[in-house]
Amino acid sequence: MKTNASLRHAKPFGVAILFAVALWYGAASRAADHPTIPDTLQQRIAACTSCHGVHGEGTPGSGYFPRLAGKPAAYLVRQMQDFQNGLRKYAPMEYTVRQLPPAYMREIAEYFAAQQVPYSRSPLPPVSAATLARGEALLGKGDPARRIPACASCHGSQLTGVQPSTPGLVGLPYDYISAQLGSWRTHTRATVAPDCMAEVANRLSESDITAVAAALASRELPADTHPQPAGSVTPPLSCGVLGATGDPS
């Protein structure tokens, strides 16, 4: 009897526990069913990271989408503004950033500027040793006879960029560099006047562009890939992006 009585009590108790477990399980599985979205900038900018990588590492395999990680923030903001204003033409970027307000662009730029991820190699077309040598010469010394300054004279001695507005060039894919230099010549990439980079690109020949893009993509990376501090270079041209307002030299 005693057992029976306790069983009688135990039954509803057990049912209640089962019911509670079922409720808890149901709620848990419903929660798992529903997406949980983290309130992070990284989550918000999925439109950026799907091409440029979660940490702005670029997609070296595709050979096109450039690395954003570690680029100076002011440079990245400037690029978004140039896409908004139609100075820089690339429809998917123009479409994506067209409405972004300045504060949000700054936040996004600072996110990518602060990322530190290893560089990786991107595909390189077969080029001759002479081409690579010409490219190396343009990177480090320029070509005074044709008034082409060395890339390093603005982009830093190790081509890792200079704060606050000059981008690093190391590790950029061959396809991207050659496409950008071409864009400056066809006016599909421009920036605020005086547009010194447009000047330089127009002094390069087509074979120079191949040479410099190949040399950059095949260069060994320096130990320190951070941009140089502000004021550590004296640019040989006057550049609107660096605050100059006069005519290009």
Binding site: D33, H34, P35, I37, L41, Q43, R44, I45, A46, A47, C48, T49, S50, C51, S62, Q84, N85, G86, L87, A91, P92, E94, Y95, T96, R98, Q99, L100, P101, A103, Y104, E107
Partner: protein
Amino acid sequence: MKRLRWLLPSVALLIVLALGWGLFGGSGSRPTPPAASKVAAASLRDPALIAKGEYLATVGDCAGCHTAQGGARYAGGRALATPFGDIPVPNITPDRATGLGDWSFEDFWQALHSGKGRHGELLYPAFSYTSYTKVSRDDALAIFAYLQSLPPVHQPAAAPALAFPYSVRNSLKAWRALYFREGEFKPDPAQSAEWNRGAYLVQGLGHCNECHAARDTLGGTPQDVHLSGGQIPMQNWYAPDLSTGRNGGLEGWSAQDIVDLLKTGQSAKGSAFGPMAAVVSGSTQHMSDADLHAVATYLQSLPPRAPAAQPGTPFDARTLAEQGEKVYAKHCAECHGKRGEGVAGVYPPLDGNSSVTEPTGINATRMVLLGGFTPVTAANQRPYSMPPFAQQLSDAEVAAVVTYIRRGWTNRASIVRAEAVSTYRHTPID
């Protein structure tokens, strides 16, 4: 009889000439100089009038067309692409040489209300006077006062680049006879003041029908077609049916959902994107709550249309949807949910979303390809975004996943094929 035979062609010729004069003859008139205007110059400088005009110019999203990419607001300088050729958008700042500096209010009214330029020339209806004709004279005056208060910007407009016969302005006489009814908005006394305010804004300044109704081969919208949804020429987006219809209409939307979308760019039923994202950012988010509720009241009164013929089910629809389900599980469900329910305030639902189920499938296809941020509004200054899948998914995969979401859950829309996806792979910037 002999004489009659000679007479008939002559009469016919005369009739043709008369018709031709009527259709294509001159229609010039002289501008009204500001000094001769019935509106005193001083009254245009009234700050209250200017402030009212600024609000109304924002409601009308004048800057949306009259500003070039990266250009000064209201200074024109871009071309509006139409199926008939490019139409330059004029400078409406008060620059005397290239803008409205020498215009009187009478000139402005003639343009807005009658679709005629200062010299009586017929304006191309890329300027939506088919809607603006409903704007009241008082509101037009406020807008004019505001535009005249802007800093003048010198920016000449290019000449129109239209193909013949559209290049002959007087060919617009025939167009106007078909599609244009001049006249201010007439309130419906049987309806509330709020409904009438909403109808006035939607039909007039808001010019919603210019996108949200289908255009025919002459680029006009037949008079009886109102907010029934249509493909936007050249931009290749589909502006959905704004009636309370199902599958592509606003069935199930509450007034608050409509207000939310227009104010914040997001709602429980869907988010604004494509051209509507620009409309929300530039215009509707700045509308007063009273005006937004008026718009919602009016839209909610639009009876559902007779449902369009249900699309047939092609033999491969099921295979497509099954392939699409796999793509959905891999790329979409994480944000939009397994049942297309979305995440409130973050990612829009896909189930019951009128942009997903609109008749063409263009919107869902392009959203998958382009991704992008939801509109930037005061309520949402750091919006979430969707990755563009153009680089990751093939035409066949996009077609499959779009077919899946258009036919999944409670959605019942037509399938989308890979050929259609390849048509829409390019990215619009206008």
